[in-house]
């Protein structure tokens, strides 16, 4: 479904990704964890085609849509318009822009359709961002920092939707998280990205037991103390 080989991405002189390889099989739900500045967002931006790689290969079978970090809604447009614009690339005309199919998956969006996106709460915005990405009818959904700044209940709700999507619609999901516990709960397999390199990968159960990963991601180094995410920081 997705195959990344020896990917190198540079911003000017700085190297953000340094020989990253990873692979996603159809229908998989895979986590990508790593600290701030590791290059996670750079990786998804490269997959989305808006950052050009300096070297390496990306093979993508199907359409990828991204739920960007920080939601990035069109604040001055309505929720309905935000959703409609998610279908811009598909070029399927008026029918393609109809958000009804997204309302089926995310029914909570329906009553918000007429609101301005900028006036929504963080959780609602994240839901719109997911909905907008779904409007592109993606085969792969890349979600960048799902839990960022959201209350635990809201995160749990969003996580449930992602799991449903993956299970019922067979959408492949790449979940990027700093909250490794949440990611490992949701996914079976994970990659650990640090300073632009994959430093560990494998089944989540295994990774969670590796002392190195445990120390880094379950030992309280999560960015932003008091992160209100379930199972976030916990003292060792």
């Amino acid at each position: 479904m997705l195959e990344v080989t020896d990917l190198v991405v540079r911003y000017g002189r700085a190297t953000a990704l340094d020989g990253v390889s990873l692979e996603l099989a159809p229908g998989e739900m895979v986590a990508l964890v790593g600290p701030n500045g590791a290059g996670k967002s750079t990786l998804v931006d490269t997959l989305s085609g808006i950052v050009a790689p300096a070297a390496g290969r990306v093979v993508l079978r199907g359409r990828l849509a991204q739920v960007p970090e920080g939601r990035q809604l069109f604040a001055e447009l309505s929720v309905a318009d935000n959703l409609a614009l998610g279908a811009w690339r598909s070029g399927r005309g008026r029918a393609g822009r109809d958000p009804a199919r997204v309302f089926e998956v995310l029914p909570d969006l329906r009553p918000l359709a007429g609101r301005l996106a900028g006036t929504l709460s963080g959780g609602e915005q994240q839901m719109v961002a997911v909905g907008r990405a779904l409007m592109a009818d993606p085969d792969i959904l890349a979600v960048d920092e799902l839990s960022l700044g959201l209350a635990p209940r809201v995160v749990a709700d969003l996580a449930r939707h992602l799991r449903e999507l993956n299970a019922e619609r067979d959408t492949t999901v790449l979940l990027i998280e700093q909250n490794a516990r949440l990611a490992f709960d949701l996914c079976r397999r994970a990659y650990v990205l640090e300073s632009g390199r994959i430093t560990a990968s494998g089944p989540c159960v295994q990774l969670a037991e590796s002392p190195q990963v445990a120390r880094a991601y379950f030992g309280g180094t999560t960015e932003g103390a008091g992160d209100p995410v379930p199972g976030g920081a916990r003292d060792p």
Binding site: S48, I50, Q66, P68, Q72, L73, F74, A75, E76, L77, D81, A84, L85, G86, W88, R89, R97, R132, A136
Partner: protein, 286 residues
């Protein structure tokens, strides 16, 4: 009473012409975030071009349309230079459009000379409730209303209009959605050129236009556009009307020489009032 009506209608027409210039500012700023200081140039180019085409015997209608299309093309060229190079910050783009406005002086003088020109479109006047009103004013009002209705529908209802709006609202997200932000920006500049050109051909019969008329045109247009924060066509129309009526009354009842100060002072007051209402942090790009 009839003087009052004359001033009012004159002011409304004047305001409509400001609003037409303003609409170009809005079209470009709403999509690219750039304040286009060459906006007055589009109007000047179209006015001069229409004048010389009519002088060569082209019929009305055709001459004006060709002139407006030329302004659209000029808008596109300005856009290519101002935003065509990736990574040009908006403020640099602003200064570039300023430079292009000056460059246009050189070109315009070579082509059309440095004397103001004018032409007639719909001569004569009609009586409205006893007040004589130039027909040209009525044309300006009618065209402005139609244009703004069209713009409102375009930006507010059409899919393309929403995609254009999305570009300035969040360029990153727009690119993620597959919108070609650069192409949309150029489209906006071309649209801004057409709107500026439309303003130019309508205004030239009322006040002769020379190569350096752009500052006055742009200042009034910007003053109107700022009313809607440079993003809302409807408010720009309101802004233009308020400004035009204010100027006409000042000119009529006080003195014609205070006209510009009133408009500019009004604009400054609005800008400062808006700035003081907003939390400064909200304006800063993250």
């Amino acid at each position: 009473m009839s003087a009052f009506l004359t001033y009012l209608i004159t002011g409304l027409a004047l305001g409509c012409s400001f609003a037409l210039v303003a609409s170009g500012f809005v079209a470009i700023h709403r999509v690219t975030g750039v304040v286009n200081f060459a906006q007055g140039t589009f109007a000047v180019v179209a006015g001069l071009m229409a004048g010389s085409l009519l002088g060569r015997g082209l019929p009305h209608g055709l001459a004006e349309i060709l002139a407006i299309l030329l302004a659209g093309a000029v808008g596109l060229v300005v856009g290519v230079i101002a935003i065509g190079k990736r990574g040009t910050p908006p403020l640099a783009s602003l200064v570039i459009t300023l430079g292009l406005g000056i460059l246009a002086y050189a070109v315009e003088i070579i082509i059309w000379g440095d004397q103001p020109i004018s032409f007639q479109m719909v001569p004569g006047s009609v009586d409205i409730a006893g007040a004589p009103i130039l027909r040209q004013y009525l044309v300006v009002i009618a065209v402005a209303l139609v244009t703004f209705a069209g713009l409102g529908l375009f930006f507010g209802r059409s899919y393309l209009g929403k995609a254009l709006t999305a570009c300035a609202s969040n360029p990153y997200a727009a690119r993620l959605a597959g919108i070609n932000v650069m192409r949309m920006g150029l489209l906006a500049f071309a649209l801004g050129g057409l709107l500026g050109g439309l303003a130019g051909v309508l205004v030239t019969p009322l006040q002769p236009v020379a190569f350096d008329s752009d500052v006055a045109l742009a200042t009034n247009g910007f003053a109107a556009a700022i009313f809607g924060g440079l993003n809302r066509p409807g408010l720009a129309l309101v802004g233009g009307l308020v400004l035009g009526v204010a100027e006409a009354f000042v000119a009529g009842y006080l003195s014609g020489s205070y006209q510009t100060e009133v408009a500019l002072a009004l604009m400054l007051a609005i800008m400062i009032w808006r700035a003081s209402r907003r939390v400064s942090v909200a304006e800063e790009p993250a």
